[in-house]
Symmetry: C3
Subunit: 364 residues, 3 copies
């Protein structure tokens, strides 16, 4: 449960709805409780919201939860309001009628997130080590123990968290947030409005080696990784994700891409605009992924592949060939109770022979 706003700062419902963008609200129906225009100190789930909070219901199948909620106000679909209007006695909570309750919820959450944040005070913490050649906009915040290398540029209103390390020649756009302990190797470029979570490493060397016969048997010679990583605008990158620098060309993450935690993107990859990549996915080097794709968690994608636009890959799938057509793709071995798995898995190694035996039977 999020911390509630101090009542002195909490808006009344009508103020709150005026403050969020979008013309999403159809009507507001007062509840049978005390306040026609209740004060809203926070946003909660139907099950856990307190009487100072607003909640929401996105589907009629959750109607039962409504009866139990303590929320003072609930965002509802028009068809739900139709049912509530006939309830006797009338619901205690106020309703905000809206065709897109999830979107209104998201926007109200954004409002509370900003209200929650401590006042923003720009400046460079005295313990930060910033190279004198770096160009830092005066509105930037640089936290304790951060390190900023030579010739870096950081745009207006960006925040560099405690302990972040920016190598030489790093560029960060405006209004970007680096949470504590992000590492950007030399030359990495990040656009505007990025959100980069703790532990992210951008621009480490790609995994490039070649057998070198001048070395001992089996030894690998390193192929230096001379490219860099380019991150577009409005990109979010989750905690402990790594994106490697290109070998010769660059690794490119396009505008609006959203990447979850512990994702690995290899060198020279290109990810198209607005593609979302869930946690623990791994994309091997030189693969190109189109726009508006969704990549499920723990999905592995081989190197040097081309995945088109609007491709949706289920979690846990291994992609080992190009995908040209939009659509949903899956490849998960079904789980089962262990002994049942053993019985069936033993047959996997005989599939080819079983096919032959079926053919033989058909010929009989």
């Amino acid at each position: 449960m999020p911390v509630l706003l101090d009542p002195a700062r909490a808006p009344v419902l009508s103020e709150l709805l005026r403050a969020v963008p979008g013309g999403l609200v159809q009507s507001v129906v007062p509840g049978s409780g005390l306040h026609a225009d209740p004060r809203i100190a926070g946003l909660g789930s139907l099950a856990h919201a307190s009487e100072q909070e607003i909640s929401f219901i996105v589907h009629p199948k959750y109607l039962d939860h409504l009866a139990l909620t303590r929320a003072c106000t609930v965002i509802v679909l028009p068809e739900i309001e139709e049912k509530l209007a006939q309830t006797v006695p009338a619901p205690r909570f106020a309703r905000v009628v809206c065709k897109h309750p999830y979107l209104l919820y998201a926007r109200i959450a954004q409002w509370f997130e900003w209200a929650r944040r401590p006042a923003y005070e720009p400046g460079i913490h005295p313990s930060a080590i910033v190279d004198p050649s770096a160009q830092i906009d005066p509105s930037v915040l640089i936290g304790p123990h951060a390190v900023v290398g030579a010739r870096c540029t950081i745009g207006a209103m960006s925040q560099i968290g405690a302990g972040c390390v920016l190598g030489d020649d790093v560029e960060i756009g405006a209004s970007s947030i680096l949470y504590p302990k992000v590492t950007l190797y030399y030359g990495v470029r990040v656009g505007d409005r990025a959100i980069i979570h703790s532990g992210v490493v951008l621009g480490a060397d790609g995994f490039g080696f070649a057998p070198d016969p001048s070395l001992s048997k089996g030894a690998w010679g390193k192929i230096p990784q001379l490219g860099t990583v380019i991150i577009g605008h409005d990109v979010e990158i989750g905690a402990n994700t790594t994106i490697d620098r290109g070998a010769l060309d660059n690794t490119i993450i396009s505008d609006g891409v959203k990447i979850d935690n512990q994702v690995m993107i290899g060198h020279n990859c290109q990810i198209g605009a607005h593609t979302a990549i869930a946690a623990c996915a791994g994309i091997a080097g030189s693969t190109k992924i189109g726009s508006r794709c969704t990549i499920g968690g723990m999905t592995g994608i081989s190197g040097h592949l081309v995945i088109g636009d609007d491709v949706h890959i289920s979690g846990g799938t291994g992609i080992i060939a190009n995908i040209e057509q939009p659509g949903r793709y899956t490849g998960v071995y079904p789980f089962a109770e262990h002994k049942e798995w053993q019985r069936n898995a033993a047959v996997v190694s005989q599939l080819s022979s079983i096919r032959k035996r079926v053919r033989a039977l058909e010929r009989d």
Copy 2:
């Protein structure tokens, strides 16, 4: 091989056995070597222990290893001691007879681990940046370059390693250890006796986005993550693991949960008491896992699932449905020599048709 204690600090066997808790020891049988009560400077495996160390044997199948060990003392099962007592010549090493040798080993290892540790000196390193509003027990150790935000509380005897960053309003209980470079986002709560390894990130934003038609085609609007992460007592969390904060409610890790390295736990998950999660497992958002489960390494669990108590999932399994019954569950595609895999994998895409053909043959 662990560093041996300085002989001046090493206990003799009888002292050591008095120092470990538990009444596990049945008897001590002197070896035919020089010392009836040998000095024990460390703990080693049968194969690698030196003559200054104690070792252990958990199963009669390792009896052959006993003949070769150099350990001065070995923890043995009663049935092994029966055999050793008849050996001619008598074994050189002393024996500690015990029905639970692995448990006694664990407790002796704990004794040596504490003996090995440098003396604990509480205090805040001068390079640490601690907000004046934080409440730090005087017995706490805060390492170099750590950062502690506003209104944090840290309980007695806890240690905050070098370079850790605690956001505002973080709470840490008593006797907890944060190894270097742990990041706790604002509002995260950790109980007593936690062990959190380096690179862990607790409380980064969950992966929450909604299509927003007011943005360009395919663009995602961010859903702020207003909950937090609550970690119970006696929890251990491995290196580079990430646990995201809840969207509205909290992400909850119950007492006694043990989490290995590079595990990912999504927003709003709840993990029941004493569940153990091996490395590289990923649990997607809003999934609830019961108590006393074991989750194998690299297992992926989809979001919004419910897994009951005492469920054991083999490594590498993808869980895409609820599991109500206790038991062991597995779903791993069998590996094979590559060409054999190719032959059989080609048939997977024909399984449905093969089933039909078998049915047709049966009808004939």
Copy 3:
């Protein structure tokens, strides 16, 4: 595209070829362009190289790309040069004829990588916290906010990046590079010429617990991890990889091993010389892997296994048994369009029964 060298520092082709080791070059054929011995400011791919750069072609199937490249010089195979020599008009670019173009590329890339690097200035940054008992060679560089514990030793020409934390008794050889924010727990040993990327954690506790009946039902007792991690010479370790310390014996990474990002290696593992492990692979505790193996990305290997020399495992494979014979091994469930996957996956749980039915039909 990598940053180009300042023209004043860029070598002419003949100088560059003299500077790289190896006698790989068969001949140099001037292009029909302006300079017989062009100045080379960088190295680029055929598609993206500028006129100041050298490029390379490793296979005749990319011949079409040659016609479009802007590179002033291209490294080519002898058989490609034969074709180019007959082209009318003659190619604009110079050719370096060479039987191993990829190896020559790697060496030229190494040359440019060193030329790119800022001048190396040894010394300990004033913000670093170095224990007075540590033995640091005067040629070592220690970056801002690094922490070096008691009795550490760091060999000649090694570099410790910003924010690295070395626990007590860590040993690092000569000419090793730790990028920013690497964590080495107490007692970890690293050889010469290591490259360790940001976010790596070496020596965190292995995942060792035993049920302890003196605790509450289902509770785990911790088994202290008394071993350490030993890293050989010429090892590279990718960003956010974790390698756990041994329980009693050590975890050992042999000479020449190359490890990609986000790899997890459990306690007591032993990895043989020159084995390469791709990103997101996980190796559970006490497994031994031979020399010159390649482990594909996101491969999971169970604990207590033995994998021989020269074994090659495809990405995404789960290894749950020993592998003695050299060769390539695979175990990936084939992906498909989602509905097709559903149809076929439903049959997996019936494989054992289908085999029986085929047998029954055969008996008829």
